[in-house]
């Protein structure tokens, strides 16, 4: 493995002070900043906000976000490899159970609330309530429980939960027509990626530029959300196993890490635009969908996670080392923020209109999950609040 120390920033522990832009990028803060700007803009000058952002939506959501999902996929693929954090089934099992419990809890709360309110129109959009913003959850928990076994468990939970959501959302892309030939195009893209891998191409550009473009058109033609188009391509890039710390500096620079270095800032800028384009909702637009998403994410999911983990532990599985029930309560609440993924799911399955506005407000409001996690940690004297 070659070393390119000069090309990459020093590990965080070696860096005394980071610049503001670097901190914004490292802490995934560009998206919330974009969202806040969007909210203020949409509520002070809605006409100009929508005039600017509606035409940008396709490029940002359907093309730009493909790179975000490529980065996420890269992390997951490496973690699944031998020696990676997710390679062992034992490490997966409890997180998988917790994720299933969280999704079911959120869905039950979502459906239950809509049933009480008799608003059947919103029923198909339950995946929005099940999404987890892994960055927000990670930093919330890291502030409460630094260097704890809770962090990898939370990330496993987040990844698994969002995979459920992506599987549900991808086929529901709002497209006018489905054209034949998409499958052939995708098979061609995968074949070409296999060939590139076989001949030892280590640069990421050919994979993304050629195979990725083919895959994007394949997804689009088949009526699948094209933001997921790089997901089947990324596994063909050369990888090496890594610990599961999505938000830490990568340790070396093989082709995919190089891809990550090259694209991290770009993806953060895309996330800023994503927040700007999608989070602008007129506050008057709240409605049943808003409360349904909030209740499902902030109440249903934590309860579902706790119930599922409780059942799993009763059945013989073990909690991660150093993690007690009080910690788990805080972890479940930290995972209740849907934000990025919830926003993405909302834009993916609901077209422009008041219904999307309702649900988007709910997705934004799930950011309260962080506050709930801090409140619970203080109340239960967990982590930094321990006596």
């Amino acid at each position: 493995m070659k070393s390119h120390a000069a090309a990459h920033p020093l590990p965080r522990s070696h860096t005394q002070r980071r610049s503001l832009p670097a901190t914004l990028v490292d802490r995934f803060l560009l998206l919330p900043i974009g969202a806040v700007i969007a909210l203020i803009w949409a509520n002070t000058a809605p006409e100009s906000y929508f005039q600017v952002t509606l035409p940008m939506a396709f490029v940002v959501n359907e093309i730009g976000m493909a790179f975000f999902f490529a980065l996420i996929t890269q992390e997951v693929v490496e973690a699944l490899m031998p020696g990676g954090a997710l390679h062992s089934w034992r490490r997966w099992s409890l997180a998988l159970v917790a994720a299933a419990g969280g999704v079911i809890g959120a869905a039950v709360m979502y459906f239950g609330y809509l049933n009480v309110k008799h608003e059947a129109l919103l029923l198909p959009y339950w995946p929005i309530a099940g999404a987890i913003d892994m960055a927000v959850a990670y930093y919330t928990l890291k502030m409460i429980l630094p260097r704890s076994g809770a962090l990898p468990f939370l990330l496993l939970l987040g990844i698994t939960t969002n995979i459920f959501g992506i599987i549900e959302v991808a086929p529901r892309f709002q497209v006018l027509n489905v054209y034949p030939g998409g499958v052939t195009l995708l098979v061609g893209a995968l074949g070409l990626a296999t060939l590139l891998r076989a001949v030892g191409v280590r640069a990421f550009w050919p994979y993304l530029a050629v195979c990725g473009t083919m895959s994007w058109f394949a997804f689009y033609r088949e009526g699948l959300h094209p933001a997921f188009a790089l997901v089947p391509i990324v596994p063909f890039l050369p990888h090496e196993p890594r610990r599961l710390d999505l938000f830490a500096d990568p340790p070396d620079d093989d082709a995919t890490h190089h891809f990550e270095h090259e694209w991290n800032t770009t993806v953060q800028c895309i996330l800023f635009l994503f927040g700007l384009v999608n989070a602008g909702v007129v506050l008057q637009g709240y409605g049943t969908g808003t409360w349904a998403v909030m209740l499902a994410a902030l109440v249903g999911r934590p309860l579902g996670i706790l119930a599922a983990v409780g059942a799993a532990v009763a059945a013989g599985l073990h909690l991660p080392r150093g993690l007690g029930w009080r910690h788990l309560v805080v972890l479940a609440l930290a995972s209740s923020t849907g934000f990025t993924f919830a926003l993405f799911f909302a834009t993916g399955i609901i077209s422009v209109g008041p219904m999307r506005a309702q649900v988007t407000l709910g997705a934004l409001a799930t950011a309260l999950g962080s506050l709930l996690a801090f409140g619970a940690a203080r109340l239960l004297r967990v982590g930094r609040f321990a006596p």
């Binding site: 005039q51 008799h118 422009v352 209109g353 506005a357």
Partner: protein, 293 residues
Amino acid sequence: MANLSEWHSLRRLAAALLGFVALVVLRPAAQGGVRLPVRPDSFKFAVIGDNGTGDRPQFDVAQQMVAARRRFPFELVIMLGDNMYGRQQPQDFVDKFERPYAALLQAGVRFFASLGNHDDPNNRLYKNFNMDGQRFYTYTRKNVQFFVLDSNQIDPRQHAWLEQALSQSQQEWKICYFHHPIYSNARRHGSDIALRLTLEPLFTKHGVNVVFSGHDHTYERLKLQKGIEYFVEGASGQLRRGDIRPSETTAAYFDQDQSFMLVEVTNDEMFFEAVSRTGTVVDSGVIQRRPRT
């Protein structure tokens, strides 16, 4: 129970008084108090929105519609969404639609519904809503073509359909109706700007004359916007009293009682009246059809 009955009487009396006061206040805003000409060869219809409560005010409005039909024989009613609130089981279709409008249904009046945010999407299959199972559809009567949209979300399929349907229309009058207003001065919901930027270009490009919406539980007539007349009628069952904050775009409004509209279309003119729950005409006027460009 006697107290309850007295309470209802008092409420109706208060509503009548408020209606009268509003009439006096609003009169100058109406377009010269033009009344419906009731010509034998014109096309006549009524407009209701946010009606499906099954409560007393919905029945009152329905009674006024029946009374109005004696002098103004409208042949159909357009429904601007939220046709049904709360539970939507078979009995609710009876309680919140068939009973209130029984006299009109028996007289052969047809209702053509659009879907609101409180409507179960499956209500499009209910035969008395005449939606033929579609979320969005079009129909023509005389020289008027109606375009009925599902404004809960304008997906690419609906957008493309509307573009095509409008471009193919040869009728003199093109009237769109859907639930969420793209112009409204009500405080609770107001104008949906994203929807406006999605739909208005199609309306202006293809010469839509008039747009009706509901959602805000008030009556409002807007000043001409890019050549199109906009009405909000979302108070045919529900009411959000005093919700309008009139602005420079408001032409007339009524937010003190439930209401419905009567509309008469001739070759080049569309006459309208907004009628309160007590039968008072709270706004009226005439719209001249724009020449085709």
